[in-house]
Each structure stands twice: as C-alpha cells, then as structure tokens.
C-alpha cells in the first residue's frame, strides 16, 4: 500500500520522477470559493527553485506551474486542482554509473530492495525534485490559511555548526531578513559566516548539515485530533517525510529532557482579558491540540549526501566492494532550500486540521 497521498480532508497526491516527463500534484478537498491564481503557486515554486546563489546548486530550472483543473473564473470550485511542472530534458547518462552502485546516504539501495527495480536517473522518485508537488500544494494551503489569518514562516538557525541569534518574534520581519540572504538565516552576521563555511566545505568536496525552525502565527486553539492524529504527531510525520530531516522537535523539544516540571510547564494567565501563556515551552500544542500560542517546530537536516569525496559502496550487479565519487553540481547544504518545503508541509497539516475541526462540535 503506497503512500503518495497526504492529508485527510485537505488531501494531496504527488507524482513524478526527477528525470521523467513532469512532476505534479493533485489537491483534493480544497473548499470551493477560494481565490487562486497561477501566481500564488508560482511565487512559492520560485522560492524553492535552485540556482539563485552560491548556497544552492547551479542548475537552472524554470519550473513554471500549470493549473489544469479545479479553477473557474479565478476561484476554486471544490473539484480536484491538478498542478503540473514539466521537467527539462535531462542528460541521464551521467547517472549510468550509479545504476548498480548505491550512493551512501541516498535512498538507492533501499528503493532497490523495496521494489526490485528502480528509476536510478537523477534519484528517480527519491530526488529533491519530488518536493515541487509539495510546495505547489502548500501554496494552495497557504492561501486557505491566510483567509483564516494564519501565517507560516521558516528560516535557518544553524548551519555547519554556526548558530544564529534570533532577536525578533515578528514573523514578517524574520521572513524578510531570512529571504534576503542565500542561506535564509535571519541573523545577518551568522548568515555571512555560514556562507563562508559553505565555500570552504564545497572546496573540500564535502557538505554541511543544519537546523531549520518553523513558526506559525494565528493558529486558533482547538486544532489536532487525539489520540493518534494529534497536531504535533502530524507535524512530526509531515516534516520527517522531507528527505534529509532526521529530527523533529516541538517547542522546547530535546531540551525538555533536562528541565523540571516547574520549569517546563507554561503557566496560564489573562492578557487583555484573553487566556494566554507566560512561556511557550509547549510550542503551542498540549495534548496534541493547539493552544492558540505560536506553534514552533525545529528540524535537524543532515548534510547533503552527494559529495565529491570518494566513498565506499557495493556493486550490486557484481557483488563486490566498489568506490564512488559523485560528480555534478550539488547543494553543499540542504537547509536553505528546505525552508519553503518545510513551510509547505506545515501549511498542509494546518489546512487539513482547520477543516477537520469544523466537524468537532454539533
């Protein structure tokens, strides 16, 4: 039983391989009557697109989205929204060497063992190109969330061991700062150091990992469906399903293990007559349900597995040890490019739970 569909009410199905004809997504369950234009989706795909700077791969992809269904006179009709992006003709012969030699840190071996065969060209379905569908669908989710006053913003807080200082809690400002540099870090000084470290590690034929934080604004209390479709559980799954993510934390996350209850608990209080919290160690979620406080997720992203350095692997056809050096222009770090993907996944989860909550009361 395959797993290319995500969500329950706001539900997406992505398809496409790196070197196939196209990649795309079908969004089913978007409510009727939402204003939606090609530009709404294109601007998110443009953020995802590589090639703008030294922080990302030099490949050029136009990635123009086409809306094939579900929109009438500028509005969603409640029927499936089919979105498609054509792949450029790619030279797949560069990947011939990889056919029998699984790349360390890549999905090659696992796919081969699962299906008995695989499209090895450009990573096939396991390529980062698969995220085109996520980001396109996420753009639709963001439009729906915006109607409800909900904002989702992500940025890089750590790269190659360099940690940013996050001074502001103003999401719009943080996003503007992050989007102004190639590593998408809202701390300009840290961003500069990250870029320098990227340059040196690229020269060594190696790569760097990092950390991305995703924060929301305007999520009302009440979203999340205990006991298995809790909001934090669904966010964890959504974020962990992005390639290269190895850890997901909510609120205080990993730090909570060293805290005492009296430190961890966020006291309730009244602020302007409304219930609020003195702190936000919970990251906006208690018992799997949103509390009205900002939702804070942190993901740890492993270093790019495609490196120029020689690595050991196995030649599956010959049944013998082998060496591999991965050519081509690869991002030396994934976090900057994962930012719009992580936003998309969080937006998809929230859009789904926003609609699910409509059935919670008589």
């Amino acid at each position: 039983m395959s797993g290319n569909t995500f969500g329950t009410i706001f539900r997406i199905t992505t398809w496409g391989e790196s070197h196939g004809r196209a990649v795309g997504v079908v969004v089913d369950g978007c409510p009727a009557g939402l204003d939606l234009a090609t530009e709404d989706i294109q601007k998110e795909l443009d953020r995802r697109r590589p090639g703008q700077s030294k922080a990302s791969t030099a490949r050029q992809e136009a990635d123009s989205v086409e809306i094939l269904s579900g929109i009438f006179e500028g509005q969603t009709t409640g029927t499936p929204i089919s979105l498609l992006v054509w792949n450029k003709d790619a030279n797949s012969s560069a990947y011939d060497l990889l056919r029998d030699k699984p790349r360390p840190g890549h999905a090659d071996y696992a796919y081969q063992m699962k299906y008995g065969l695989r499209d090895h060209r450009g990573g096939g379905r396991a390529s980062a190109r698969e995220t085109v569908g996520r980001v396109a669908a996420g753009a639709v989710a963001k439009k729906l969330l915006a109607e409800a006053g909900i904002l989702v913003v992500a940025y890089v807080t750590e790269l190659g061991g360099i940690t940013a200082e996050i001074a502001s809690s103003d999401l719009m400002q943080l996003q503007a700062q992050a989007e102004s540099n190639a590593v998408r870090c809202p701390d300009p000084a840290a961003a500069q150091k990250m870029l320098e470290r990227l340059d040196s590690v690229r020269a060594e034929g190696d790569s760097l990992g990092g950390v991305v934080v995703i924060v929301t604004e305007g999520v009302p209390a009440g979203l999340g469906e205990p006991v298995f479709d809790k909001l934090d559980g669904d966010l964890a799954r959504a974020l962990m399903s992005i390639g290269a993510v190895k850890a997901v934390e909510i609120g205080a996350g990993r730090e909570c293990a060293a805290l005492r209850g009296s430190e961890m608990n966020d006291p309730l209080l009244l602020r302007d007559g409304k219930v609020d919290f003195e702190s936000n160690n919970a990251g906006g979620i208690l018992g799997g349900i949103s509390t009205g406080a900002p939702i804070v997720c942190t993901i740890s992203v492993k270093p790019t597995p495609s490196i120029a350095k020689q690595q050991s692997t196995v030649d599956l056809a010959r049944g013998e040890a082998a060496k591999i050096e991965i050519k081509g222009r690869h991002d030396p770090a994934i976090p900057p490019r994962i930012v719009p993907v992580a936003e998309a996944m969080v937006a998809l989860v929230l859009a789904d739970h926003l609609l699910r909550q409509r059935a919670a009361r008589v």
Copy 2:
C-alpha cells in the same frame, strides 16, 4: 474528523477515559492464523502498570485484559480483535477543583477549546490511562513481528540530566538490564543515580524529564512507503502521539546538523556476502525505507506536568487568575513508564508496514 484510529492495514482504534467504565482497543487487520493468548497481552500490560516501585505512582491497577472477539481455538481469525480493561471505581471528586482551572502543561485547556466541554475527571481521554489500548494492541503487533523475526526494545538513556552509558548492542541483554531496575535504564550505575535524583525531586514537589531510545532487530530492508508514509515519518508521528514526547530523532538525529557529509553517510560494504553498512547514522532508514540495519529512534520526554508545587493558571468560569496545587500520587518522571508504550507504537508501525510491503511487487 477524529483521530482514534491508527495504521492502515494493521489498524487499531482505541477508546476510553480515565474515569469512565473501561478502556479498550479494537485491532482490525491482524492476519488470520496467528497464535494469540491472553497472556501475550497481559504481560505487556503488566509492564505498563504503575505501582511497582518508587519510580512510579503508588496507585494500584490490576488491568486484566479480556479478549472479546477475533480469536478461535487460540488463533486469530482475521476478524476484529476487541480487547477491554475495566477501570476501577475511582474517586473523581478530587478532580472537581480542576473543572474550571486548566492545569499548566496538561491538555485541559486545549480540550475545552476544541470540544466546548470535556470529561475533566482524571484527565479524561488525555490521561495516560489511554495508553492501555496502545500497549494491548502493541502486544498483538509484537506477536506478528516475532513470527517475522523482528524484535523491538526500548530503555531509558537519560533522566533528570543523568546520562547512561550503553555498553552493549545485544538487545535481549539490554532489555534484561533495563527491566531489572525501576527506571528501566540498562546502565546500573546511572540507574542508581537516577533513582536518587527522583527521590529528591519528589520531595521538592517537582518532576524530571528524560530520554528513551527504541531499537529494533531483524527489520528487513524495504519497509516504508514514500513519499508521505515513509517509515521514519510514521515512526515520528507514532512516537510524538504519546503524551509528553516533545522530540523524535532517527539515527544520528539532532547531531546530524553538526556533521559533514563524509561523516554522516554510512558507507556500504559486504559482510559475509551480504550488503551491510559500516556505521548507522541513518538509524536504519534511507529515503523513508528500511535498509536492514537496526532502526534507532530517540524520544525526549518532558517532566511530569502534575506537580505539587503551586502554579499559576486561570479560572475559566470566573475569568480571573488563579493558583493551583496538584494533589495525589503522580509519577515524578514519565520515561520509565513510557518504555512499553514506545515499544508498542514502534511495533504497530512495523507490523503495518510489514503487511503493506506485501503489495509492493507484482
């Protein structure tokens, strides 16, 4: 749209509140022909049961499971397996004070906001008692996994800032060591310190957080369904859906952010003619699919939110600030008791994906 069902093929639905008549679970999709006895389930519920030591609450719960359907002459029949555990008559009046005063760090406020009303007695559906159904169903999953040679073991590696040293990689041995002490830590020296720290924090009316590791043995390569029902994504969701868990890591997890690609990638090699990995930073999962290496998950567990110390909250009925002191005997740390629950959740995910994989090839 509620979320009390978990899994796709091996699918469970739990029900029940802390102070209701009973708690239970319906397991649908367990294959026919599996030997299953009440003892298989009871022994896991006994591991979950509080009251054995100072590390856990002093409440006594018998928790005898009854199998109401789905078994015939000692074997599963392919029909739903209904499992039930009666609740003891509880004195709910102790909870009257909490009706309008949400406890910090608890789900009280979130439930109230979601549903407009809630069963506040003993935490209702958000009580840890809800995990009875998880553990009972997990016991069935473990039986199925055992047939396939798969083992799942969890233990405590950190508590209140004290870190264990894990010397062995023999799962049976680790489990024996962990189960021999009240904090379920396989390092006896660390376990002793953890118990002492628990004593002192209990005396202060406070509580501690910690870390639990879950490891598997025998999981074949090929489990996991990209791109959304990846094995790591489903594990993350499963583990994050346990109350008090605030972070989930796979393999190197949080540490991967500071590694280089050449350090993080696990080189492939041949061992006794079979493909294996030199290291296991991936934690047994690449591209969302198991590789055949042990799966390693790490969860961070927040300190018990129920503490005797006075805390600030809001009286929702009166619309004014209030203070709260939580009486009763509560575990000063959740990690030891979460061990069998975490094993159950991992077992449920693996059983589901084991069956899903049957449809992967023609």
Copy 3:
C-alpha cells in the same frame, strides 16, 4: 486490509462474533455536545431484536447496550463512544456438524477460503448478530440527524411475491403502520397475506425473499462527494454490505432502463418560492449529490439461506459430496428484521456526509 470500519468523519468500527463473548462498536467522530442516553440506543436495538412474533425467530436475546466511553453528563464529548452488548451463553455444539460442511447460501465456504480457518459457531462474524453494532451506531447517527431535521424510515413493500400498496407519503405515519405488524409492512391487507404465506413456507421448511424501501425526509441539497464518494454510491455500498441484500436501487432504479429521457427527467419548478421537482425519479440524488428531494432507496433481500429442507453440499474435510439439513429456529424471511438495520446504514451514510459537507466551502 480488513474492512470493519465504515465512514470517514462519522466513523464506526464493529467487532464480535455470534458465539463470542460480546458484540460491539466504537463510534469515532461524533461531534461533541450531542445529547445521548442509553435509551436512545436501546430502543433501536429493541426494534432489531428477534423473538417478538411469528415473523421472526423464537430465540430470546436481551441485548442490553452498555455505553463504556465518550459520554459525560449526558452529552457526547467528541471522544470515541464504545458500545457493547454481551452475548448470552450459547450452545455451540449444535453447530459442530457445520464445521466441515459449508451451508449453501451462507458465507461458510467463502470465509474458509479467505482466512484458512473460521469460527463456525453460529456463523461467527458472518452472523446476523453482527448487525447489533450497526444498529447501535446508527442510533447515534439518527440522533445527530434529528438535530438537523433529518428522518430515515424503512418498511417492507414486498414479501414472498406479495406486494404492498403504499398510499401515504407521510413518513411518520408509514413508520407507525409498518411497526404495528410483524412483517413491518405499512399496508395492513398485504401484511396479513405476507404473514399467512410465511406460515405456509415455514411449514414446508423453506423461506421467502422480499423488498424493503428506505425513505428520508429533510436531507438538504448538497450532500455527496463526487466523483467516487457520491451519495448514491455510498448508500449502495452501505446497503449491499448488509447480509442477504442482492440489489440496490435509487429512485426509479431498475425501471429507468425502460423509460425515455422525457419521462425519467424530473422537471424543476418553484414551490412557495423554493426550487423543487415535479417528480422524483432521481430518488433525491443527481450527480451523486442530494437535491433536497426525499432520498428513496430500494433493496432486494434474498430468502433466508438457513432452511430445514435437505440440501447438497461438500464435506471439505473428507473431500466428498454430502447432504445437510439445517436445524434450529430461523427467520423464514429476513426483510422485517432488516428494516432497522437498513435505516441504520442509511443514517450512518447521511451523518457522515452531513459532516463532510461542512468542509465544502471556504
């Protein structure tokens, strides 16, 4: 992948075998804040219960429902509602003869081939006793529908070739008439003839089939989810999933094959300023979506397969032809008892679609 869960938002999972300990159902997704008492469910189970008259089997079953979770102070809380009915101790030895000899017209052989083993006692999971869970859950659905002004009524229109004349279109009146006799037929004269024919066929050791009509009132326009979860498709599945049902028709149904478009189409008109239809050949559904007109479903029910007459079968253990005579008191006709079950299934479909429709528009 098993199939004991029904519905998407209003979702039920039934469990239990005929001669097991109990039968039951978990209702997940019922909105919070619905008044619900044991009597609401018990009264529907009482309608389902056999033993009241010559039209049904003489077995006595008390069938007292217990609500085990999900209700607090008389209202649903949004958490799963677990409903249980204990089975009486049954003498299963009468079924020993059937262990290896599948009964013609029964599920015995199919279950054996599917699962490799089966609980043969009393039909196991394939027994009509399984409908206890459907009726109990349907009672909850009916309460929810009643809040929305929706009524579901079923009655027998044909039995053993005798056809009723349905004079009224007043659902309350039709139901009162139907419930006043043992065959649940709203035409008293036809009902009398049906009872006489039942007597004679029972004396012959044979059984009769019949037809049941289910009609709704108050269903608003807009329910149903094209293109696969159409309202008529979901109704067809729900009704066909009841044992013994071999045909489902909507509106004109089978008759539409012989009509012309000008006869079949229901012209639209204005009635008291509201859109209405001149006729209702569509049975209240167009394009898989309710139109606001009454929904009319017709099901054809096969004669009871358990008959006293000698029949041919195969002894699976010996691999040879065999004869079988089915002892015991069996209903000579199923339609009267199927009435509350059919109502329950239609109510469950409508409750689910009523909640699904909440997500249809921004």
Copy 4:
C-alpha cells in the same frame, strides 16, 4: 471531505473538467514490475471514445493518453503513475444559456447547491468526460488482473425495452460479439432492433435507457473484506458512482425477492475434485467474499438526460420558471458507451481486493 480518490491499496485519484485544459488520473499502489505500455491504456480509451457510430455522439475526440511518471524501461516502478489526456479547445459559449438554468436530470442544480459555484461549461466535473480517468486507470488494473488470470467483460443486455438473449457463457466470445456492433450487444438480432429504436427516438428528440451486465472469469475465492468492504458492497459503490446508473444487482439481484430459499441457494458440489456450485444465483459472492464462481453484476442505466425536447426548469438568477431545449449532439443512449467504464470500475475493485487479500493470512 472530497471524494476523488478510489480504492485503498490500488488507489486512483481522478481530476479534470469537461472544458478545462485536460483530464487525468494518478494511479498509486500499482505493484512494481508490471509490464505497461501506452498502448495498453490507449486501446481502452479508444473503446470509450465517442464518434464511431450512430449509437454514440458525433463529436470527435482523439484522447491520446500520455504517461508522465511511474514507468521505467517498460515496467511499473511502484511509484505513482500519472496519466493525462488533453482536452480539445471547446466552444463553451454554447453552454452560456445553462449557467443559470439547471438541466433536468443533470447534476447542475446539485453542484450549485453543494459548492455555491460551478464550472457549468460542458457539465464541468459532472461530465461523462470525467470517465477518461476511470478507463485509463482501469486499463492498468486490467493488466494486473490479467497476470492473475482474471478477465472482466461487459455488454448491453437491454436497450429501450428490447432484451437480448445471451446464448453463450464464453466471455471472450461474448465480448467479440458485443464489440462488433454499435450498441455493444452480443445478440445480433436484438442489437439490430436496438439500433432501429435509437434512430426513431433520436428523431423524436428523446433518449433511451438500458441494462448492462458485467461478468468476470478467474476471480479466486477469498476476495472481499467483511463486514463493510465486502466485495459486493464495493462493486455496488463503484458501479453506482458512474453517472446515470440507478440500480446495481449481484447475481439473481432483484429476482431474489420472489424466490424461495430452496431455489435461491446454490448447492455446493465437487467438479473434477474441486468445490463448485450447481447454480450461480449468488453471482459469485457470499458473505461479501468471492466464492470462485463468476461474478455477475447488472446495472440499470437511465436514459440520457440531455434531450432536444423542451423541458421545464427554473432560472436561478431570476428566481422564475423557465423552459430549456438542449442543443448539440448527444448520445441518445448511454449503455453502449458505459460498457468500458463499467469494466474499468469492476477491474479497479478487483485489483484492489486482490492486493488486500495478500494481508489476510500470517
């Protein structure tokens, strides 16, 4: 919660409107390693295509399918198969008149009430063009079934009151006969009369209904998932979800109501040492599970709602009664064109249950 996804393991999602850019389908869950070529799909779309004869509309549609993903070197890879058919530029202005005037017998009014807006051009999502995705996906399912020795064949048995005599039980022969005439009826004499009646009714500006039978060969015993995903229930839903279908019967169907148990029950016997049935009133399904006998489904199809004759409707914008005459070339009868669609839906259900059955036993 929308409903454009069908199936659980072999799962399809269709999208597209009649006058949108394209229509298509994503097939997820097709096992890896199946040989699949464009021609396999194209030949089924060609059968679906209108324009070949007087029995169907004179519109010409090329309907060339493009495979956009999921195939590598002629085989399925286990990843989603995206299939697309471009729409020809259509003149939508002919539909302007229908914007505010719902056509009787069409989904226009229901869609408007459900979503608050609709793409009225060419029927939008409710157009028969939507079945392109069903037929394309069904072609993939048929390939999978063929590997398992399963065949699905449909043909017309009644049209405008003329009934065919079905002399043969050889499915290949029946299909050859049916496909040799424009009404797809395997009885040549009846087919001739049907064609004549179609001519006369077309001249009157009216239309005809009919009956289609779908039969399978080679379905093994054991498919179907009680108690809600029974094989007959899923077939009923699948077939009822095709526009214009108003009744679904299994085996004896509607006729069973007038039979006695001794007539309806199919006695078991041994034929060449294998269990078989003396008759097939059950239509190959007992207790919702296939028995190994041929599965027989009968659907009743209403007359084409688009007729030239003047009809009454309502002008929704003006809130007043109105008249409507539907121009354009419309099929005067749907049954011949529904044949490949019905085959596709049955194939999709069987492919799904074939894969589901893989998880039935340990």
